[in-house]
């Protein structure tokens, strides 16, 4: 079986459909000591060898607990952080190691929607300025005369009143602000939008509106999403494929059904069994896998399999040999566990 750096072989999609290709990407943040003479005493391995492909019109969900590196991964994709190692290709073009000016033109194709609609919009800019600002950076996208109309159209597309173009962010509710952020991301007609926890700050009733908007825009503009979130229910709803991250590594990758109905990695199973289901009739009828302890420090991850310190299946081999993300006998999709085996944890078992 091949190493982590190849995309699973069971995928049937033609290669030209791949719009974003990530290979063995690493981001190590140096840990420094000293004030004047800084010396590096170690590295926080926030992202440590992640590979996946994203196809046109597809949503890839990235889940994991806080500190697993999912947001850093998003920043790497955006070119907001420089990769330590590895390759990120958008439409076949390498994006790591670009000069700032080249990075800028690369970002036309990949835009971001952030979590907090309160802090990601400049309070002193009008909505029109915020949504139209990408046109100042990329003047060739829309001619000057048409920019105002184009901005109004964008507001209309995301369900805001185009007449509110001169209002300020504080005059909008949380859900509406998130729509402004989405309109800004759409301005340059990107192929890919990286969504980093885009609905977790919103109230339940508003969350559904924004999720529906994401889906509607995807159909309309044939967008590809990298949807980073900690809420496994939301990710299942919106994703075609899902990657599960733990301590900087992708531990399981598969389509939505494979990850949720047939998870094979113990971490995925533990994570899924902990998700509450809005149905009191199922109470006590689902298997509860309680993961002991906390996530270890990414500056000093355990040897071998990083999950072994919390895993109930751990054997000697787990401490010495790092399991690769690959298809195994009892796993139809890539899973980074020596003992990968399907187990249904989200449905009632007894």
């Amino acid at each position: 079986m091949s190493a982590t750096s190849t995309e699973p072989a069971h995928t049937t999609q033609p290669a030209e459909d791949v719009i974003l290709s990530v290979r063995d990407v690493k981001k190590h943040f140096p840990l420094q000591q000293g004030i004047v003479f800084k010396k590096t005493i170690g590295h926080v391995k926030a992202v440590d060898g992640v590979s996946f492909d994203l196809r046109r019109g597809e949503t890839l969900g990235i889940v994991g607990e806080s500190g697993c590196g999912k947001s850093t991964l998003g920043r790497l994709l955006m070119g907001l952080e420089r990769t330590t190692e590895g390759s990120i290709k958008i439409n076949g073009e390498e994006t790591t190691g670009l000069k700032p000016s080249e990075l800028r033109s690369m970002r036309r194709n990949i835009q971001v929607v952030l979590q907090d609609p309160y802090s990601s919009l400049d309070p002193r800019m009008t909505v029109g300025d915020i949504v139209g600002e990408p046109y100042l950076v990329h003047p060739d996208v829309v001619p000057k005369k048409e920019r105002l109309q184009s901005t109004k159209d964008l507001l209309d597309v995301v369900g805001l009143n185009p007449d509110h173009i001169n209002r300020y962010p504080h005059q909008f509710s949380g859900g509406q602000r998130q729509r402004i952020g989405i309109a800004r991301a759409l301005a340059l007609r990107p192929d890919i939008i990286v969504c980093d926890e885009p609905v977790s700050a919103l109230d339940v009733s508003v969350q559904a509106q924004v999720i529906n908007l994401f889906e509607q825009l995807q159909r309309e503009f044939n967008l590809s999403y990298v949807f980073i979130a900690h809420d496994l229910s939301v990710v299942r709803h919106i994703s075609d494929r899902v990657g599960v991250m733990y301590l900087g590594k992708m531990v399981e990758l598969g389509n939505e059904k494979e990850i949720y109905e047939e998870p094979t990695h113990p971490y995925t199973q533990g994570l899924l069994s902990a998700v509450p289901v809005p149905d009191p009739a199922l109470r006590g009828h689902r298997e509860q896998i309680v993961l002991e302890g906390d996530v270890p420090s990414p500056a000093n991850p355990p040897s071998g399999c990083r999950f072994r310190t919390r895993c109930w299946k751990a054997q000697d081999i787990c401490a010495t040999e790092e399991p690769l993300l690959q298809i195994r006998d009892k796993s139809s999709h890539p899973s980074a566990c020596h003992f990968a085996e399907t187990k249904d944890v989200i449905h009632a078992t007894h």
């Binding site: 969350q207 939301v234 998700v275 149905d279 009191p280 009739a281 109470r283």
Partner: protein
Amino acid sequence: MTDTTVGSKRGSDPAALADLPWDPNAPLLEVTDLQVEFHTRDGVAQAVNGVSFDLKSGETLGILGESGCGKSVTAQAIMGILDIPPARVAAGSIKLRGVDLLQLDEKTRRHVRANKIAIIFQDALSALNPVFTVGWQLGELYRKHSGASRAQAKEKAIELLELVQVPAARERVNSFPHQFSGGMRQRVMIAMALALEPDIIIADEPTTALDVTVQAQVMKLLADLQQQQDMGLILITHDMSVVAEVVDKITVMYAGAAVERADVHQIYERPAHPYTKGLLESIPRVDMKGHELAAIKGIPPALTNLPEGCSFAPRCGFVRDRCKTDDPPLYDVPGNRQSACHYWEEVFNS
């Protein structure tokens, strides 16, 4: 009531509590027609507008609602920790075993807190004091409320940390809050609430800031301890899934008012208020891949400017002319439940 304890700085006087006319046959907690208003620059905000519920020993009540619906203000009113002014309890009663807490003076109220009712907040890091050790903060309860010495208080603090399953409690007792992980901090908050063996614990979004696996651990701990000590638990949350897993009965709040009250099984099976129904239809579930979410349109009204008639009318799918003028009372619904909707039968049978 006068403070009679000698040698205590701020007066620990359990005798003051013993003198109150407790009625062991009265309900543990009975909140009747509670109204809390806030005086703001924009006018008077009706944060809580006639909320009633009761709670028995060993029972768990869920108060469900979105931000700004008045659920946290209700909790603060019960605890007696509202900021007065701008807040004001305009009407209603909060009876603990027959004693109306709103009629007590501040000194007696202080004894009720911690001894009778305790609260767990969402954000443990800001609820704990960063410059004192965890042990000192836990011991403070014993020093202030039961006159324990420093050494005794520390021993008690260790016992508490063991009770909430903090590993290596004897060493961790001297740690500062920032040295604890999020889940461990929330355990410390639970320990603090349990310290003086209260009759009621109010948990205000206790797991919202936690990762899903830690959330499961903390909720399990809370439920176990509640059963052991036969306490009443009020769980305040916006999360319909968490509520479904733990509570016995639910009060759904919207724009300051209770819109539906029912047993947990009934409400999920057959909601009798359009808002509850809308919430249930708008959340994605981890155990099934749904279709498009049925989002509730619009946003909650401003509390300073509630619409005439039913507050939910502008967002409601069942709305009629009558809803825009008549504020619906809580109608009785078969199955010992209530719904504040003129057309609950229609919702019930839809």
